[in-house]
Amino acid sequence: MTGRIVLVIALGLSLTASAQQGLDRKKVPPAGPMPVLRVPAWTKSALANGADLIVSEKHDLPLVSLSITFLGGDNQFEPAGRQGVASLTAALLSEGTKTRNGDALSNALQLLGTTVTSNVGGETGSVGFVSTTAKFGATLDILSDMLLNSTFPAAGLERLRGQRLVALTQARAQPGSIANRVFPRIVFGSNHPYGRIVTEESLKAITRDDIVAFHKAYYQPGRALITVVGDTTLAAAKPVVEKALAGWTRGGERPAFNYPSVAEPRSTTIFLVDKPGAAQSTFAIGRPGPPRSTPDYYALQVMNTILGGMFQSRLNANIREEKGYSYGVNSGFGYGKGPGAFRAGGDIVTAKSDAALIEFMKELRGIVGSRPVTDEELTTAKDALVQRLPGTFASVNSINVAITTLWTQNLPDDYYQQYAKRIAAITKDDVLRVAKQYVTVDNLAIVIVGDRSVIEGPLKAAGIAPIVLYDIEGNPVVTQ
C-alpha cells in the first residue's frame, strides 16, 4: 500500500519537472548520424627470411604492440601421445637462453616494465608483448633471445610438468573444466584432433627431446607473421625487427589444415557426467560446425546473435531472465580451419536441470523453424554486429588481433570495410536456412555435468533423449 502512494508522488514530480523543460521522458532520444568507420591502415612487407611483416601506425599514445604469429598449432604439430608438448614448449621459452637464465630473463623484463607472452593454441601460436615506445627495441631483443636461443633446461621442464599435473587434478573438481574436456571428446571422438585432450599420461610421456624437436619444427619464419602496431612507422620498425631477428634463418612453411571427417552425429543423446554434490549442472549442447571459411559465416553470425550471442538473445532472455534457472546461458561456434563445434550451454541450478533442458530444446527448435525470427530480432542483431566494429580498433593490442585474424583466416584486406554490407545482405530466410543446417535438434550431444543422484530421474522423466553415463575424463561408464 505504502508503495503505491509513493509511486504516485514520484510520478507527479516527474511530470511537473519534465513539463518545465518540455521533456517527454517516454520518448527515446534519437540516435545521431552513425560515425564513419575508421579502419586502421597497415603496410605489408616481408623479412629476408620469409616472415611476413605488417606495420600499423597509431600515435595517440606512446605504446607499441608486437607479435609474431605462427600458422598451425597443436592440432598440426603435436605428435600422437604427446598432447601438451606445444604449450609446454611455449612456456619453456621463458626458462633460459644461451646467455640468460630464467631469472635473468625475468629480471630484465621486470626492469623494462613489461612481459613477453607466449602460447600455442589449436591452430595458431604466438609470442609477443606491449611496451612503451621507448622500451620497444630492448624488449624485442629479449623476445628474440627467447625465440632463437632458448636452452630448454630439463629442470624447467620438470617444474612446469609438475605444475600442469596439479592444474589437471584441480580441473577435475571444476564442473566447467570437466565439461570443456568431455564435450569435444564426445562430439569429435578422441581420434580427431579437435577431440584430443591433454591427459596425465600424455604430460608424463613428454621428454626434453620432444620439446627441442617441437621448437625446431614449429617456430619457423616461413609460417610467421610479425605485426607491429602503435607509435612507430614501417621505416622505423623494420630495421629494428630485422636486426633483432637477424639470426632467424629461412625455413618452415604454412601447414595444410587437413582434418579427418567427423562421424555423422548420432541421434540426440544426453551424456551425463556425475559430479556428486554439485550446486549447479554445467550444460554443453552441440555438434560439429562449419569452418571459419564457410560462405555462411555472416548468416551464422546473425543467427547466433539472435539465439545466444547477446544478453537479450532468446536463450538468455528465457532461461536466465524469465525463468531464473541460471546466471547466464549462451551459444556460439568454434570457427577454425576445421569443423569447430556449435555449442550452447551454461551453468544451471541443480533442481531445474530438467526444466532448463526443456527450454534449451524449445529455443533450438524455435530457431530451426518453429518460432520464426522477427524483423525486430533481425535488425537488432545486425545493428549489434555492425556497430560493434569501431570499438574493436580501440587499443594497439585489439588492432593487432584484428589484422592478425585476417592473415590467419585468409580474409581479404578490405574485410572490415565490406563487413557491414555483408551483414546487411542477410535475410530471415538465410537465418532459417543456416539454423536448419548447422544447429538441428536431432543430432545433438547434450553433455551435462552435475549431481546424478538429483538430476538423472527428472531428466529421464522429461523424455528428451536417452541418457548414457560418462566419467569426468569423457569415457563411457561401464555398468555391471
Binding site: T2, G3, L7, A10, L11, S14, Q21, L23, R25, V28, P30, A31, G32, P33, P35, V36, D60, P62, L63, G102, D103, S106, N107, Q110, L111, G113, T114, V130, G162, V166, A167, Q170, A173, Q174, G277, A278, Q280, M310, F311, Q312, A317, R320, E321, E322, G324, Y327, D347, V349, T380, D383, V386, Q387, R388, L389, P390, G391, F393, A394, S395, V396
Partner: protein, 475 residues
C-alpha cells in the same frame, strides 16, 4: 591541487546553479599522465566528470553510486548487489529490455558491479548513441520505483542465487573469501560479510527494503557521472542538465562507522571443500584507500610473489618446488584492506611446511628490508600499466569516478601514480613489520575427509556448513 569537493553536501550548502570548473593544469605531472577532464556539479548534487577523447568513435558512461555491501545490515547481506540486478529490470519510462537494446543491441555493451563500497553502472556505446545512454541512466536514477514490482524482484533474486552458486558454492575454494572475511572482522563489522551475501538473507529481502534502499542511496547527491570518449562538451552538458537536472536530491546519508581491525592473535581454520588439492590462505587486516601505506603494501606484494624472482615464488615454486602456485595481493577497500597470501602445494608437500617456509621469508624481509633493485622492478611496470589504461574509455571513466567518489578528486590517479613510484625500501620494510604480524587468519581448504592435510591440523578449528552470519571458528 584544488578541485571542487563534491562529496555529499547537505542540501542547504549546495551550490546553486552548479559549479563549472576545469581541472587546473597539472604542473607536477609528466606527459604520461595526460588524462584531461572537466568536472562540475548540478544543483541536485550530481557530480559530473567529462573527458573528451576522439581516438575511437565510442563513449563510455559510468554512473557510480556511493553504496555497497558495507551499507547493509546483518540479516540483509547481499542486498546492495541484489539491488544492482534490479536496476536492469526497467524504470518508469524505460520498459524492460530497452536498456540492452540501446546498448548491446547497437553494438555497445553494459554492465554493473558492486563492491563493499560502491555500486557502478556503465555502458559503452557508439558515439551517436550517447544521448539515449544518458536518458537510460537518468531514468533509472529518477524513476526506477515506478516500474518495480515483487515479481521482478523475485526473478532477480533467483538469478543472484544462481550467481552465488556459480561463483561461490560450485567453485572449488569458492567459499574461502567469505570465510576469511567472517574470521577477520567482528560479526557486526560492515566488512565482515562478502558482497554476494548469504542465501537466507537474499530470501529475506522485501519489496519495501528495496524501495527504501533506492530512495536513500540512488539519489544524485550520492552519485558520480563520468562520460569519456568521442563527444562535444557543450552538447553533453546540455544533455546532462536535460536528463539529470530534475532528479530530486535525496536525504542526507549516515555512513556506517568503520573501525580499523587488528587481530590480537592468530586464528587458524580448516574448511572441507569439494576440491582435489588443498590450498592455504593467510589474511592480514591492513589499510584502505585513505592510507598511503597501501602503496607500499602493493609493492611488498609484488616483491613477495608474482614474477619468478619474487621471493616466495622463487623459493617455493622454482627452487624448492613445494608449491604449484603462490599468489599475494593487497586488496584495498575504501575504509579497510587485507593482505592475502594463497599457496597451492605440489603433491607430497604439506601446507604446514609451505606456511613455515613463507613465514621465514617474510621474517627475513621484515628484518633486512628489500633491495633497491626489488623496488625498481616492482614499480617499473607502472608507466606502461597507466598508459595502457588510457586506451579504454571505460577504464578512464572508472578511474576518474573512483577518484571523485573515494577521494573527492577525479584527478586522484596522479597522486596514486606519484605515490606508487615514490615508495622506498624503508616504506616496504616498515609496512611489512607493521601489518604482517601474528594477528592474522590462516585458513586451510582441504578435500572432504582430509582434515589432516590442513596446515597444523591439530591447532585448526573446523569450519562446518555454518550459518553464514555466525561462522563457527570465527572465534
Amino acid at each position: 591541487m584544488t578541485l571542487t569537493a563534491f562529496v555529499v553536501a547537505p542540501a542547504a550548502q549546495a551550490p546553486v546553479g552548479g559549479q563549472r570548473q576545469a581541472a587546473p593544469p597539472a604542473a607536477t605531472t609528466s606527459d604520461t599522465l595526460r588524462l584531461p577532464f572537466d568536472t562540475y556539479t548540478l544543483p541536485n548534487g550530481l557530480t559530473v566528470i567529462l573527458s573528451q577523447d576522439k581516438t575511437t568513435p565510442t563513449v563510455s558512461v559510468n554512473v557510480w553510486y556511493k553504496v555497497g555491501s558495507k551499507n547493509e545490515t546483518p540479516g540483509r547481506t547481499g542486498f546492495a548487489h541484489l539491488f544492482e540486478h534490479v536496476m536492469f529490470t526497467g524504470s518508469g519510462n524505460v520498459p524492460y529490455g530497452l536498456h540492452d537494446k540501446l546498448t548491446e543491441g547497437v553494438g555497445g555493451s553494459n554492465n554493473g558491479t558492486t563492491s563493499n563500497d560502491r555500486t557502478t553502472y556503465f555502458e559503452t556505446v557508439p558515439s551517436n548513441y550517447l544521448e539515449s545512454a544518458l536518458w537510460l541512466e537518468a531514468d533509472r536514477m529518477g524513476y526506477l520505483l515506478d516500474a518495480l514490482d515483487l515479481a521482478k524482484l523475485n526473478a532477480q533474486r533467483d538469478i543472484v542465487k544462481n550467481e552465488r552458486r556459480q561463483s561461490v558454492d560450485n567453485q572449488p575454494y569458492g567459499r574461502a573469501r567469505e570465510i576469511l572475511a567472517h574470521a577477520t572482522y567482528p560479526p557486526t563489522h560492515p566488512y565482515s560479510w562478502d558482497v554476494i551475501g548469504s542465501m537466507s538473507d537474499l530470501s529475506a529481502a522485501s519489496e519495501e527494503d528495496v524501495k527504501n534502499f533506492f530512495r536513500l542511496y540512488y539519489a544524485p547527491n550520492n552519485a558520480f557521472l563520468a562520460i569519456v570518449g568521442d563527444f562535444e562538451p557543450a552538447q553533453v552538458r546540455a544533455w546532462v542538465t536535460r536528463y539529470f537536472g530534475d532528479v530530486p536530491r535525496g536525504k542526507p546519508i549516515t555512513r556506517p562507522k568503520v573501525d580499523p581491525v587488528t587481530l590480537q592473535s592468530e586464528k587458524r581454520l580448516v574448511y572441507e571443500d569439494r576440491v582435489q588439492v588443498p590450498r592455504l590462505y593467510v589474511q592480514w587486516p591492513t589499510v584502505g584507500e585513505k592510507s598511503d601505506d597501501r602503496f607500499a603494501l602493493d609493492v611488498l606484494a609484488s616483491i613477495l610473489a608474482g614474477p619468478r624472482t619474487a621471493r616466495i615464488t622463487k623459493a617455493l615454486v622454482y627452487d624448492e618446488q613445494s608449491a604449484a602456485t603462490v599468489n599475494i595481493f593487497q586488496s584495498t577497500n575504501e575504509d579497510v584492506g587485507d593482505f592475502v597470501l594463497m599457496m597451492t602445494p605440489r603433491p607430497g608437500h604439506a601446507l604446514t611446511n609451505l606456511e613455515a617456509a613463507a613465514d621465514a621469508i617474510i621474517e627475513r624481509l621484515k628484518s633486512d628490508g628489500p633491495t633497491a633493485e626489488e623496488i625498481q622492478k616492482a614499480t617499473a611496470g607502472e608507466e606502461l600499466g597507466f598508459v595502457r589504461s588510457l586506451e579504454s574509455n571505460l577504464g578512464k571513466a572508472m578511474r576518474l569516478s573512483d577518484g571523485a567518489g573515494f577521494h573527492g578528486d577525479a584527478g586522484y590517479f596522479r597522486t596514486e601514480y606519484k605515490k606508487t613510484l615514490s615508495v622506498t625500501a624503508e616504506d616496504v620494510k616498515r609496512v611489512a613489520n607493521k601489518y604482517l604480524t601474528r594477528g592474522r587468519v590462516v585458513l586451510s581448504v582441504v578435500p572432504a575427509g582430509k582434515l589432516d592435510q590442513a596446515s597444523k591440523p591439530e591447532q585448526s578449528t573446523r569450519v562446518t556448513e555454518y550459518d553464514e552470519k555466525k561462522p563457527e571458528g570465527g572465534k
